[in-house]
C-alpha cells in the first residue's frame, strides 16, 4: 500500500517531517500533549498541530526535573525538548489533564526556550452545566490567545472549514476500525497504529487524502477475504507507543479488533456539530466523548463504554495496557476490571513503558492470556 509507506516514513521520524513542513510550506508548528488539546482551533489558525510522544531515547536531561514516579511519556517529551530536538516548535499547548502533564507545563515554561506556551485550563468534571459554560469560555480564551501568539485572526469560517476536515478524518478513521473489526486479516495491527498516528503528525489535508486511498484499498481486499479463527481482543488504556505489541498478539494467535486508547478510538470518537457557534460545537464534542481517566463524568460511563466496545466487536477478551506511573489510568483499573468480570469478559493487565520492554515477559503474559480464552 503506497499511502501506508508515506505514512510510515512520517510516523517513524515526525520531527524531520515537521521541520520539512515548516521549511517548505512556511507553516508554523504547534506541539501539543493529548486529545484534550483543541487541534481544530490550531488548524483553523493556519498552524500545524503536532502531537508529541517522546522519541524513546535514553533519559538523561529530563531526570534533572522529574521524579521517578513520572511516566515515560512526559519523561520522553521533556528529554526531546531539553536536548534541543524540538527547537523548531513555534509554540506548545498543554491541556489541563493529569498532574504530570500540568507539571510538565511548568517545567517547560521555565526551561524550554522554544516558542510560545499556552495552557488550556479545562474543567475536571465534564457533566455539569457550569462545566459546559466554563469549557466554552476556556476554548474562546484559547482562540484569542492563539490569535495573539500566532499574530493571525481566526474567523468563524476558518473554524467551520477546520471542523469539516476533522469530521472527515474522524469518520474515515472510524471506517478503518469497522473494516478491521469485520476482517481483521486485511491489515496488521501495527499498520492501524501507523494510520492513527499519522493523523496526529502529518499535515491534515494531505493526511486525509492518504487515509482515503488506504480505505479504498482495504475495502477491495475486504471483499475477497474470509474470517479468521483468531482470538478477538480489545486494547484499553491511555496511549500505545508500541507497535510491536500488535505483532506479539498476532503471533500468539490473536487480533486487536477494537480499542479504548487515547491514541486509538478516543482520538476519533464523536463528530463536531457543523451548525451553530463552532467553539460551542467543539466544546460539546469534549463533553459527550468517552472520557480519559484524568477527567470525571460519572462512576460508570467508561466501564459501560468498554463493555459495549467489547460486545459490539465480539471480543474474546480485553488487554489493559497501562503506561507505568500513569496514576489516573491505574486508579481506574480496579473498577474497570470489576465491571468486566461482572460482564464475564476476561482481561489481562500489562504495564508498559515508552522505553524498550522486556519482550520475553510481555510475550509470556500475552500468550498465557490467549491460552486461557
Amino acid at each position: 500500500m503506497e499511502s501506508l509507506e508515506i505514512l510510515t516514513a512520517a510516523v517513524a521520524d515526525p520531527f524531520t517531517y515537521a521541520r520539512k513542513l515548516k521549511k517548505d510550506g512556511g507553516k508554523k508548528v504547534v506541539g501539543y500533549m493529548c486529545t484534550y488539546a483543541p487541534e481544530e482551533i490550531i488548524f483553523a489558525a493556519g498552524a500545524h498541530p503536532l502531537r508529541l510522544f517522546g522519541s524513546n531515547k535514553n533519559i538523561i536531561l529530563a531526570d534533572g526535573h522529574l521524579q521517578a514516579y513520572c511516566c515515560s511519556l512526559v519523561r520522553g517529551v521533556l528529554e526531546d525538548a531539553l536536548s534541543g530536538d524540538l527547537n523548531f516548535l513555534d509554540g506548545m499547548i498543554f491541556p489541563h489533564t493529569c498532574d504530570t502533564v500540568q507539571r510538565l507545563s511548568d517545567i517547560w515554561r521555565l526551561n524550554v526556550p522554544a516558542g510560545f506556551h499556552l495552557d488550556v485550563v479545562l474543567p475536571v468534571k465534564l457533566n455539569t452545566a457550569s462545566a459546559r459554560e466554563y469549557l466554552i469560555d476556556v476554548l474562546n480564551l484559547f482562540r484569542s490567545n492563539l490569535e495573539k501568539a500566532l499574530k493571525v485572526k481566526i474567523t468563524g469560517d476558518d473554524l467551520r472549514k477546520s471542523i469539516a476536515l476533522y469530521n472527515e478524518i474522524r469518520n474515515s478513521l472510524k471506517r478503518v476500525y469497522e473494516l478491521k473489526s469485520k476482517n481483521p486479516q486485511i491489515i496488521k495491527g501495527k499498520d492501524i497504529y501507523t494510520l492513527l498516528r499519522g493523523a496526529m503528525i502529518m499535515e491534515r489535508s494531505s493526511y486525509l487524502k492518504l487515509l482515503q486511498s488506504a480505505i479504498k484499498e482495504l475495502e477491495k481486499s475486504a471483499i475477497k477475504t474470509t474470517n479468521t479463527k483468531k482470538k478477538r481482543l480489545v486494547l484499553s488504556g491511555g496511549l500505545c507507543s508500541h507497535p510491536d505489541i500488535y505483532s506479539v498478539i498476532e503471533d500468539a494467535g490473536g487480533d486487536v479488533v477494537a480499542d479504548d486508547l487515547c491514541t486509538g478510538s478516543r482520538y476519533f470518537a464523536g463528530l463536531i456539530k457543523t451548525d451553530g457557534d463552532p467553539i460551542t460545537a467543539i466544546a460539546e464534542r469534549y463533553l459527550q466523548r468517552v472520557i480519559c481517566s484524568a477527567k470525571h463524568k460519572d462512576n460508570k460511563s467508561r466501564a459501560e463504554n468498554l463493555i459495549q466496545t467489547a460486545q459490539e466487536n465480539g471480543a474474546d477478551g480485553v488487554i489493559f495496557m497501562l503506561l507505568k506511573f500513569c496514576d489516573p489510568h491505574a486508579f481506574d483499573y480496579p473498577y474497570l476490571k470489576e465491571a468486566l468480570d461482572k460482564a464475564v469478559i476476561p482481561s489481562l493487565l500489562l504495564e508498559v513503558e515508552d522505553q524498550p520492554q522486556a519482550q520475553g515477559q510481555l510475550q509470556t503474559r500475552i500468550e498465557a492470556f490467549l491460552e486461557t480464552l
Binding site: E351, Q357, Q361, T364, E367, A368, E371, T372
Partner: protein, 256 residues
C-alpha cells in the same frame, strides 16, 4: 505411548517423560548460555535413561522462557498453562499455584476444573525471585541448599526494606557489618521475598488449596515465611521444580 515436556527456565532446564499417562522419568540440568543446546541435551539424556531411541515417535511440548528455541517440540505452551496442568497432575484439588522460579514469580488462580482463571507475574526486576535468594545467599556466604534451614533458627528476623535486589544486597552488607547474626539476616531475606510474593498472590485472588512450585519451593525458609505471610498451609510436591515440565508432558497427551 510416550510424551515429553521440556521446561527451559532462566537457570535450569527440566524434562519429564510420560509413559501411558504416568510419569516415567525426570531430569534437571543447568540451562547455561545456549538454551537450544540445553533443550536438545536434556531430551537425549532422558530418552537414554528410559532406554528409548529418538526415532520413536514422542509428542513433545516445550515451555519456559526458552520454549521457542526447542526446534523438535510439537508445540510451545507458556509456563502458566503448563504449571496449571502439572500442579493438577500432582494433586487434583489444587486451586492456586505460587511459582517462584529463577527470574520470575507467578501467582496462578485455577477454576474447579483446573483451568487458568487469572494469573499475575512479577515485573521485570528480580525482586521476589530465585535469583534474589541466590544473590543474598552469596552475600552471606551460605550454600543455597542450607540457606532456608538456617533462616528457621532465627528468633529476631532483621527487617530488609528494599525490594530491589541490588539495594537489598547493600542493605544486607550493612547488616553484616553491624554484626547482625547470619540467621537473622537470612530470615529477614526470606520474609522480604514472602511479602513480595504474597502481594502477587493477593492480586491474583488467593484461594486454597495452594501449591508452591518452582525451584524456590525447595527452600524451607521461603516456604515457611510465605505460609506465615499468607496465613495458610501450602502443598509442596517432591517434584515442585519439575511442575512445568510435568504439565508440558501432560498437555502433550492431548496433541494429535
Amino acid at each position: 505411548m510416550y510424551t515429553a515436556g521440556i521446561d527451559i527456565g532462566s537457570i535450569t532446564t527440566k524434562a519429564a517423560l510420560f509413559k501411558y499417562g504416568k510419569l516415567a522419568a525426570t531430569k534437571l540440568i543447568f540451562t547455561g548460555y545456549n538454551s537450544e543446546a540445553a533443550g536438545k541435551k536434556i531430551f537425549t539424556e532422558i530418552l537414554q535413561e528410559a532406554g528409548l531411541k529418538e526415532s520413536e515417535h514422542i509428542k513433545v511440548v516445550s515451555t519456559g522462557y526458552g520454549r521457542g528455541s526447542v526446534s523438535f517440540a510439537d508445540k510451545a505452551i507458556t509456563e502458566i498453562t503448563c504449571h496449571a496442568a502439572g500442579a493438577r497432575y500432582l494433586n487434583n484439588t489444587i486451586r492456586f499455584i505460587i511459582d517462584i522460579g529463577g527470574q520470575d514469580s507467578k501467582a496462578i488462580l485455577l477454576d474447579e476444573n483446573g483451568k487458568v482463571k487469572n494469573f499475575v507475574m512479577n515485573d521485570k526486576c528480580a525482586a521476589g525471585t530465585g535469583r534474589f535468594l541466590e544473590v543474598m545467599a552469596r552475600a552471606l556466604e551460605i550454600d543455597l541448599d542450607k540457606f532456608g534451614a538456617l533462616s528457621l533458627k532465627s528468633q529476631k528476623p532483621a527487617p530488609i526494606s528494599s525490594l530491589c535486589t541490588v539495594f537489598a544486597e547493600s542493605e544486607v552488607i550493612s547488616l553484616i557489618s553491624k554484626g547482625v547474626a547470619r540467621e537473622d539476616i537470612a530470615a529477614g531475606i526470606h520474609e522480604s521475598i514472602a511479602t513480595r510474593v504474597s502481594a502477587l498472590a493477593a492480586r491474583a485472588g488467593l484461594t486454597v488449596p495452594v501449591m508452591i512450585t518452582g525451584g524456590v519451593a525447595k527452600n524451607i525458609g521461603a516456604v515457611k515465611a510465605l505460609e506465615k505471610a499468607l496465613n495458610i498451609n501450602t502443598i509442596i510436591s517432591e517434584h515442585a521444580q519439575l511442575t512445568g515440565a510435568i504439565g508440558a508432558a501432560v498437555l502433550a497427551q492431548n496433541l494429535k
